[in-house]
Symmetry: C2
Subunit: 527 residues, 2 copies
């Protein structure tokens, strides 16, 4: 009997509450890896943990281990907590490798998230800490039907409304399949009875007319929008729009840009913290207070039979040397940085640390004198996708209809283009983003105000954006990376199956400290 | 030359700014009927207008006519402004026809919108007034991939996650069309070259594997979600999910519930005013102040050569009779009510007023002791669709993760079911909504707190939900309804091509007062 058959059987013989229980116990309802709350208890008397890095993974570890009764200290390289959880606001200063310093000139209240910028609803770990720390969340708009998809080589380089491409692709596909059904070309694969249901469903999902055709008119305009919307009173009838021919659509390649919102990680409902992603890091920092030592650049990690000693420089006093010691160490330093720090772990973990490359990524935040994308083009939040190197333009999912200035994400670049942008100065990156973007929004030319650009490979605290696991690398090194080596355990997005996401950092951290706590209990009281 | 060819030609020979201009002038970019702002000016000296009804249409008229220099007075039946623009909060009292009085017991800050509850981004008229009156807007979540679609006769009556049905339907359709393409069954309809692009696009949009099959595994789970999500550290690999068989999906009829978010009126980005839809009505009322006379029940409308006299009862003094007079009258009283008030207009308009039936609709707001839909089921905003009479359950798009009580829309009922629910007492409606809803959320049984129910046919100020135009009715009566009759013009959603929407009320009102102003100017100064 299949699981589904079993469920169906339960369903017809029992009430829905029982069915619900059964679904859950069979794993039919989706299950997050996060079981809240971890609630560790009973640290060995006097036991201590040193946490390296006050990013999300490190602060989750510090927060939960302190609650369990450990003496906790956190060493953080930056002058702030959060790590890649970071929003750049008015007045912020950022110096990247190579010495370029940027002073953010945004208007008060405006910001850009150089790192993570959205939280899927099923990332229950990071969402749990938002709730627990009192970080208010608002809806992040991923898909905006009135934003654009853009190819520099299709439709004369003119951006197309997302809703046009999405509706037309779906309509043409539905029509093709409907015609094939009607012409008995699916007889081998679909039963006669199902063919009728298939036709009904295609008509509805594809907005076909009664002849199963996807053509200009009311049916299709109720999806792709009208050329002129209906109104009230006299002479206010709608003017329907005309679909793009399927051949043109297939040629354009724009169909490759309409599925992002269908992906599990990008599906509704998505969230962002009110006031910027960095609010989460700030909330953790408030909670942990003096447990975090800032400006602490780790230069050596040495474990022995009874504990771990970490040597660090106070970056405010170049050349200084301090040391911290604890029974255990949760090490969340990105592998790109960690691979350059002496640390006596076994060969398996050392090889794993050295093996994982880091992804290049660049984000550019642009401030404009007005929210022209809203005022001129009725684009409120969401993302425009383009084949230009800037990849996307993302409009703010907050402050809608604000009459003042506005900040958008003018570029989010990966791969080869990111390497090229990383080689530029921040000012050149901003200029390039403005240049490319003006092919989509001509208003850039007159409305641009100022910008900031973060190239993650030049970020001194990460030297890259996130751990770039291939399947083969993961097979070879992942488990070795995550094992506890003596008194040291690693955590962070790089030690997770959800690379680049904060949820990877949270679940990695919880899994690591859960195991570390067990080991500490087994090892017994502080020596 | 087609419009598209022309655009393409312009696109290759000119810059994008020029292309953008061309697009707009050719009507290629969607155009709202609303041209902001209307900016009427120069009312004839001393000219006056009487506005009947302080709903959205009436208040737009009053606001703009006052700005143009008219002496304006508004008569409103209710003790509040807004009409169907209305949110019910803690402590509100509502008495419906038949005498049932409800006292809202919601917790402070919680509310239900018995009338309109969402604003599409292209409803630029109502959005303009929100901005102008300082009503802050937030994102309304229509589609929630983690909400349910539910048929009482499919899958043993168990609700299915929206993302499962949506992804599986798309995947199976893509697979069918891909196989038909590969087996040369589309050769007549799709060129060889396009077939290759079609296959690529189907693989991407349908999440097919490399054999163009939609099967359980990573590809499909990246759309429909995993049975167990990936996590961090050791033993945190994802467990993929398995698609529903296409036959089962077609049988279930659930495909009929996955297109709502594709409709032009329901597409992202949708809005709601912070604090409830009623904030718009309140903002207008604040702006208009003493221009609105409340508790004024219109009982007679009489026009003569020089003006319009309206007789009304002060409902606080039953049997009382007052009259108001002005040069012109903008009459926004719903046709269901207006058809029962004596008014000397021509036969064409009178026939039109009498001809339009009003749609029945019922909404039920339910307060629960906790937001179990978030806490137990990770449903944040959005809508569950069901074939039960309640039709949908809509979860609040605000206050996410609030640990206190929560209010959801427990029913939004049309048609025959609405008639049945209208016949019940409010308490019975609430009870029925709780009963039906518990088939989807077993938690209803223990978590239900209290509720309110509005049956629009029992609303004394509208006697129905909205004007139910058929194509034939519109052909016959619509223009007659909208013409200025002597000194009277009608406005409201019923005098628009966007029935039931606030945008219909706004654009109807603007169109009506624009014409009325022209007539007033032509008629000359006040006699």
């Amino acid at each position: 009997m299949t699981r589904r058959q079993l469920l169906r059987m339960i369903g017809v013989t029992a009430g829905s509450a029982m069915m619900y229980q059964a679904m859950s116990s069979l794993g039919f309802a989706a299950e997050s890896r996060f079981k809240k709350p971890i609630g560790l208890q009973g640290a060995p008397k006097g036991a201590s943990v040193l946490v390296l890095g006050a990013g999300i993974a490190g602060m989750v570890a510090a927060y939960e281990l302190r609650a369990a009764g450990y003496k906790v200290q956190v060493l953080e390289y930056n002058a702030r907590a959060g790590g890649r959880n970071w929003s750049i606001h008015s007045g912020d200063v950022y110096t990247e490798l190579g010495g370029f310093t940027q002073h953010c000139q945004f208007d008060p209240g405006l910001y850009i998230n150089p790192g993570p910028w959205r939280i899927p609803y099923h990332h229950q770990g990071i969402l749990h800490y938002c709730t627990r720390l009192g970080v208010p969340l608002e809806s992040f708009v991923q898909v905006n039907n009135n934003a654009y998809v853009h190819s520099s080589t299709a439709f004369g380089g003119k951006p197309q409304r997302y809703r046009h491409v999405r509706a037309d692709y779906a309509g043409h596909v539905a029509e093709l399949l409907a015609k094939a059904t009607q012409n008995h070309k699916l007889d081998e694969r679909v039963t006669k009875e199902d063919q009728e249901k298939l036709l009904m469903s295609l008509r509805m999902t594809g907005a076909l007319d009664k002849h199963y055709a996807y053509v200009g008119g009311r049916d299709s305009s109720e999806r792709r929008g009208y050329d002129i919307d209906p109104g009230g009173g006299l002479d206010q009838k709608a003017v329907p729009s005309k679909p793009i021919a399927f051949g043109d659509l297939l040629d354009s390649g724009l169909w490759s840009m309409i599925s992002a919102g269908d992906d599990y990680d990008m599906q509704t409902t998505l969230f962002q913290p009110v006031g910027g992603m960095g609010q989460i890091g700030k909330a953790f920092a408030r909670e942990l207070g003096s447990l975090i030592r800032y400006h602490a650049k780790v230069i050596d990690i040495h474990q022995d039979e009874s504990g771990v000693t970490v040597t660090y420089e106070d970056t405010l006093k170049p050349g200084s040397k301090f040391s911290a010691r604890a029974d255990w160490c949760v090490n969340t330093i990105p592998l790109s940085v960690l691979s350059q720090i002496p640390m006596n772990v076994g060969a398996a973990m050392a090889d794993a640390i050295a093996a994982v490359p880091y992804a290049a990524a660049v984000k550019v935040g642009l401030q404009f004198k007005r929210r022209f994308w809203e005022q001129d083009e009725q684009i409120y939040g969401g993302i425009t996708y383009t084949d230009l190197p800037i990849t996307n333009i993302s409009y703010p999912s907050t402050g809608y209809f604000n009459p003042g200035k506005g900040v958008l994400l003018g570029a989010y670049i990966w791969g080869m283009n990111a390497t090229e942008f990383t080689a530029m100065s921040p000012q050149e990156r901003v200029k390039a983003a403005v240049g490319y973007g003006s092919q989509i929004h001509p208003q850039y030319a007159t409305e641009f105000d100022n910008g900031v650009a973060v190239a993650w490979h030049r970020s001194p605290f990460t030297l890259g954006c996130f751990g770039l696991w291939s399947e083969a690398l993961r097979q070879k090194h992942y488990d070795d990376l995550c094992q506890i080596d003596g008194r040291i355990v690693l955590a962070g997005e790089h030690a997770s199956y959800i690379p680049a996401w904060q949820e990877g950092a949270v679940t990695s951290s919880l899994n690591a400290i859960g195991r570390l706590h067990q080991k500490a209990l087994a090892t017994g009281a502080h020596a």
